[in-house]
Symmetry: C2
Subunit: 315 residues, 2 copies
Amino acid sequence: MTDINKAIESLQWDKEPRGLYEPIAYALASGGKRLRPVLALTAAAIFGGKEEEVLPAALALEVFHNFTLLHDDVMDRALVRRGRPTVHVKWDDNTAILSGDQMLIEAYRLLEGVPGAKLALVLRWFNEMATGICEGQQLDVDFEHADRVAISDYLKMIELKTAVLLANALRTGAYIAGAGEKEQEALYEYGRHIGLAFQIQDDLLDVYGDPETFGKAIGGDIRCNKKTYLLLTALATASAEDKAELEQWLLVSDRDREKIAAVTTLYTRLGVREAAEAAIEKHTAEALQQLERLPQNSATEQLRQLAEKLVNRTS
Amino acid sequence: MTDINKAIESLQWDKEPRGLYEPIAYALASGGKRLRPVLALTAAAIFGGKEEEVLPAALALEVFHNFTLLHDDVMDRALVRRGRPTVHVKWDDNTAILSGDQMLIEAYRLLEGVPGAKLALVLRWFNEMATGICEGQQLDVDFEHADRVAISDYLKMIELKTAVLLANALRTGAYIAGAGEKEQEALYEYGRHIGLAFQIQDDLLDVYGDPETFGKAIGGDIRCNKKTYLLLTALATASAEDKAELEQWLLVSDRDREKIAAVTTLYTRLGVREAAEAAIEKHTAEALQQLERLPQNSATEQLRQLAEKLVNRTS
């Protein structure tokens, strides 16, 4: 397969004005898993698609994803991204806003490379996905201030914020490569389910991850009362007594270590860990099932392995 | 012609999450001249284009324009837009960033309505225009901190920031309506020149406008040393002695009324007013000349009148 990192490096940002393009080059050079273009190209490979026809859309999805990170980091006041200062820290807020806007436009410029007959649908899907991600981001903000969040609303939020981008990458790659509608749909559903599994796994690792391999401090979500799959499940299933204890801990903000230990113990006692593991397994199984609807070859096998790797990841 | 305000009102924003869409509805309901969609529809009318085929792109240009205002207002910390609090004041910065992002995406969603065979080129032009506007905005920021700015660089900046959007609105309307390449080009150039004339007129009105009709305080640009066409012309053409006097005034920040009066007197003595008026007339004449290359009908006549109205405007 095309080396995605090389393809991203080959995008030209040494243009004027430097103040606009340098932050874009910086944001894109920070690595990351390049999961979205890999998914698009792998989906296309199942159908023997020409990589040069799929690559523009695959790169558009990666540039778009990095645009969302750039603006999210401004809104979250995040200081570090992939081990380096965020754009608004290295430059300033205005630079992050404007260069982010240009990154979003650059994503659409890359779509110009989609084969003409397929542009209209690829653009429509891209817009739909981008809209979903902004809606998901807004829901995430809304949930922070909400008293109660239903688990179903939480799942809707992570679906919009994370899963639809993976799903759309797969569907777009398959469509450009000539897949039929049923196959596009199977890949979309595969992507949606691995996205959901991925996000719940994220919540789980924050509490039960191995500090050695996780990469960041364990319990960060508990410390700041983040409404994760675990917390919402605990609140929804606990007895009145346990719920009262949990809600007491939510009011604590000065005893981090004690709070993390106590809430983790509560989670474990309430079976929240098993519930999350079961949800991850369910979504992974549904993702794998979708792959049965596709031609079976080495690319399909790669997607199978990817789904299994995501469930078993430790960071 | 289609009532543009009605068409904009008919866009549906009563969707969830409210926190994302309410600021978009607010930003688009603030009125304004709707100049860009009017230009697109008028250009199309010259060629007897079907309005329903042009309207989606016309609305996309208006939504895009309002997106740039929304994000510019955050970056400029502007408090008021068209007599109402700006979005980041009425809500907050994060809302303005995210709803602005969604507005940009909504502009691209509207492009889905462009007739299929014309989508690819309309999208390419739209991307090129959007890129120009971000580059122009960045140059504007760069110029604030620059010691010297050449008049030619200033003209390049206002061309990118203002003129290409008008130019592209006209070209896009004409193209969708079936105009030939030469005609598209004539309309593009017409739009570029009225855009330049408009912007220089803006600089002129800030100094020589009638306080009764101008709508804002006269001399705002002088007060904050804004590098306008007038200031740059003065710096480029003044004798050493006049230049020294002007530069002294640039250091003054506590005697606004005196500064505005003195710099205005200097401008007048240096012939800067005439230079600006000559530049506006030159660009207006070039715009009008482009119209000679087009079929002559009532729509062409409207564009002629529009060019003349822009030069003679007082606010």
